[in-house]
Symmetry: C2
Amino acid sequence: MTTARFTAVYRVRADPASIAARAQAIAVEQSVEMPLSAIDSPHVLSDIVGQVEHIADHGGGLFEVRIGLAVATAGDDAGQWLKMLFGNTSLHADVVLHDVEIPPGLGAAFGGPRHGIGGLRRRGGAIGRAFTASALKPQGLPPARLAELAGRFARGGIDFVKDDHGLADQAYSPFAARVAACAEAIRQAASATGHPTRYVPSLSGDLDRMRRQLDAARAAGIDCVMIAPMIAGWSNVQALKAAYPDVAFFAHPTLGGAARIAPALLIGRLFRLLGADAVIFPNHGGRFGYTPQTCRRLAQRARAPWDAIRPSVPVPAGGMTLERVPEMLDFYGPDTMLLVGGNLLAARERLTEQTAAFVRAVATHLYR
Amino acid sequence: MTTARFTAVYRVRADPASIAARAQAIAVEQSVEMPLSAIDSPHVLSDIVGQVEHIADHGGGLFEVRIGLAVATAGDDAGQWLKMLFGNTSLHADVVLHDVEIPPGLGAAFGGPRHGIGGLRRRGGAIGRAFTASALKPQGLPPARLAELAGRFARGGIDFVKDDHGLADQAYSPFAARVAACAEAIRQAASATGHPTRYVPSLSGDLDRMRRQLDAARAAGIDCVMIAPMIAGWSNVQALKAAYPDVAFFAHPTLGGAARIAPALLIGRLFRLLGADAVIFPNHGGRFGYTPQTCRRLAQRARAPWDAIRPSVPVPAGGMTLERVPEMLDFYGPDTMLLVGGNLLAARERLTEQTAAFVRAVATHLYR
């Protein structure tokens, strides 16, 4: 019987004469971290030490190295798995984690989104079209002001109103007060419009604090929250997903440090595996520098069939405007959530009308 | 009254014509994330929006940009602070977080190490010389085998025996069984040698699981543990430091992805601020690629006087050998912990003698 392995795919800068040794060094670093000559356990040598499976020369000093790593070293803990996937190797400047291939058993242990695209369609009332979303900003406003904005977004008929990821539990806008006020404002607006707009508050702090925030959110009737896996710690995301099965999770990419882990992998695939029902990422041509190719690949990975793992909704964001809605819908298709924040807020007193125009643009779009 | 700010120092690649706009964009991204023209709160504009404090041209298209960010946006939560420090900006390929300057109030809120160099000297019995340490490896061995190794290290008179960071709570080596076995082996050896060798187990998993591990460790008489802040989540490190005041924390740099946050800042300064009593980092000339300059700067930042914040012990590691002990001691001085892992384990049946030689080399070194 062979040992169960997942395959980490690294892109390595090296010269042809040294790549074999470099690949072997990565295999050792990501498993036993010691000279193999000092290991006298046959079990460790055969079942635990990483194995170089393939090296491909991509030209120009770039190689793709595939390394098989034992599932047993990670167990069922996502944080530990992240360590074994890229922990120490992230400290090397010549390596990028490009991809990972996961045996069905590991995928089932992590489980992916509990609700996914289908579950979010049901709760946001978005059937047969792309989702619409906006963000509460700026940082620094008191709960009453944010709630007023939330209500105006909702009166425009939007599907989701999320906290800006900077909104936490600050003195000027405590989580409990903000969530109660925004949830109430959205509930009132939703009962006026008949559209089930959802408020998506952002979690922060340690696991205990995030649980208190989730309890307060659920008490206010909320069933969607946002979490930043690179800040919260992956094991804690896992714990919250297990403890709150009725809640849908939006993953925020903050601290994703895209230079060393390929964005399509981190956000599109790993955040999905971790259980994000929606994955927010910086769209091309906005405030961030992802290329169209990266964005397309990321969205594909978030939605592509993958064993029993549900698809996540890709949420391109970051400086998006109403004018870009048609182009973005043609680019991403209807299994997408468009998030327009500052550009709607810039409409100021016409916020509700501008939101309604956004909602209409998505609902009436004719895909090319 | 002016608002309390911390200063984030970024190194930005740009051309001279665009750097002012780029700096302003970072200031907005790390605070309100929306067009300033859409903000009508004078309080937010004056006290919350990031302020570009200084731009210095370092030549060759590299600029140093200093941005003042409001302390109020972070509050007292380390995870939220990390978001405001580098969250979204980490997604830009042209920026590295190079340094941060912290007002005394924020430093006091986070607090830094509770024990620091002085506290570790008392518990490890290392007076007037550098500390010695080694690591239990490889991943995959059962508790009894690791405990046997731990006992042999301790009989060599070493100060600290830490888990390899890959050791977690795997089926082949459950945390509770491993810690009980290793603690007992080290206790027996220590009573034979008279030297108070400490076992430093590695924490993993979500906050609840780490607390259960800490409880098990303390029940076994352990007062030092290792934690990986980039995996655990900074808020959880903070929570554990507050809940276990008698425990000293070693910070492991795994997933430190050094390319986007300067290592001297992340490991030497931020892990210290977070409360690490000892900070482990890859030494120059070992398995990792940090330069001697980076290592020197990192060690300086871990130990330099800093308001009321205690110094952390720098722990250069990663492929170190006995032969390098004199050179490393001259480079780092006595307020240092030398960690030699695989090179001692490679001595196999002579592990205790080799450990004793390591201990002797540190104890008898004559600094240049």
